[in-house]
Amino acid sequence: MTGAAIEATGLGMKYRGRDGGWALRDCSFRLPAGRVCALVGPNGAGKSTLLALAAGFLRPAEGTVQVLGGAPGEARAKMAFVAQDKPLYPQLTVAATLWAGAELNPATWDQDTAERIAGELPRDAGVRSLSGGQRTRLALALALGKRPELLLLDEPMADLDPLARHQLMGALMAEAAEHSTTIVMSSHILTELEGACDYLLLVDGGRVRLGGETDDLLAAHTLLTGPVRDTDPHTVVESRTAGRLQTTLVRRQGPVDTTVWEATEPSLEELLLAHLRSPEAPALLTPSAEAGKEVAAV
């Protein structure tokens, strides 16, 4: 059996002074251990709230979230969380920050990894003097040096130039390859994560709308192109008509009539955009992403 890295049941979060609106509502999903998961959704969808809840930085208003089989607070030694603003101590130097990382995580600290990620950062430079991209690099060095079982990264690549982005994504993937680290990365830019992630959570309007293996989510959908016609019995996610041509993204219910439609598998971007443009489309979780289910290891 594979354990769950994160399991949320009816999870909800409300911020004070936000006219009573829910930042996150009724979220139930499961992230199996060992996956690299893209947490995607538009700005303000609830991605950061979800990560902060999993990290134990926020207390849920309703529902529960379990991390590595326990409460987020109990799992703190086994996970690393890099928040969006990359919090570091501004008065420390780079070297002192890495030293603090080693001192605070004596059981698991991996100096070589931390040094490799920190790369060419001048070790005697003050954190205050670092650029946004350099701070990101240092924050990731701390997070990876801790050698966590679960790595939560909120918009990790936002401040990085393309070269650093590629290099750090490569380092994250190497970590996942070698230690089966579970990684969750949020972004509103899908292309940043496509290719690196094998699992997907689409959060939109405070709810989880898609969850599961990227390949399975894609395979469950079909892009139908053909005459303007009812696509029953398939579940319509989005349908658009241009002249006599109708393009419909459906969730298949049984076989597709290919005498009427040209059927193709959507790209990940097509799948996500279609869902974001159609807030009323029903949510879909693949079996491994459903909370409260133990799924046998494949």
Binding site: G170, M173, A174, A177, G195
Partner: protein, 136 residues
């Protein structure tokens, strides 16, 4: 650390070809060109993902496919090794199949077909011949 691997993969995210298939195809191309020979070690999943920033499972999926086709073999704790070459002889300049194809191409041209027509015809016949086979 063993000696460095004999191939390096280039991943084109905009090619529309699934990433694992790109690895399969590039490995086969290297086998056809003799850049990879039996006994050579493929890069480890870690080496590939560190250089390309793709998901480790994608590499493993590609290697499983190559193994299923009998081209490579995973040796526990050592890595994945090439077990045989591909095509080779049939693609050489003096091979009979190549000569027949060259002859056919000349006749197609003599019959007044343009290069694009010949290419389309060849692709159509190729697709028909290999219809139903596993992609890759």
């Amino acid at each position: 650390m063993a000696e460095s691997a004999a191939v390096e993969y280039r991943i084109d995210r905009r090619s529309g070809v699934a990433t694992y298939l790109q690895i399969v195809q590039q490995t086969k191309q290297a086998l056809r060109l003799g850049l990879l020979e039996p006994g050579d070690r493929l890069p480890t999943a870690r080496e590939v993902v560190e250089a390309t920033a793709i998901n480790p499972n994608t590499v493993l999926k590609a290697y499983r496919e190559l193994e299923r086709e009998g081209l490579v073999e995973a040796r526990r704790g050592l890595g994945t090794f090439v077990t045989r070459t591909l095509g080779g002889a049939a693609a050489a300049d003096d091979a009979p199949l190549r000569a027949e194809l060259a002859d056919w191409a000349r006749r197609a041209r003599a019959a007044g077909l343009e290069k694009d027509d010949v290419s389309a015809l060849f692709t159509a016949v190729l697709d028909k011949t290999f219809e139903g086979d596993q992609a890759g």
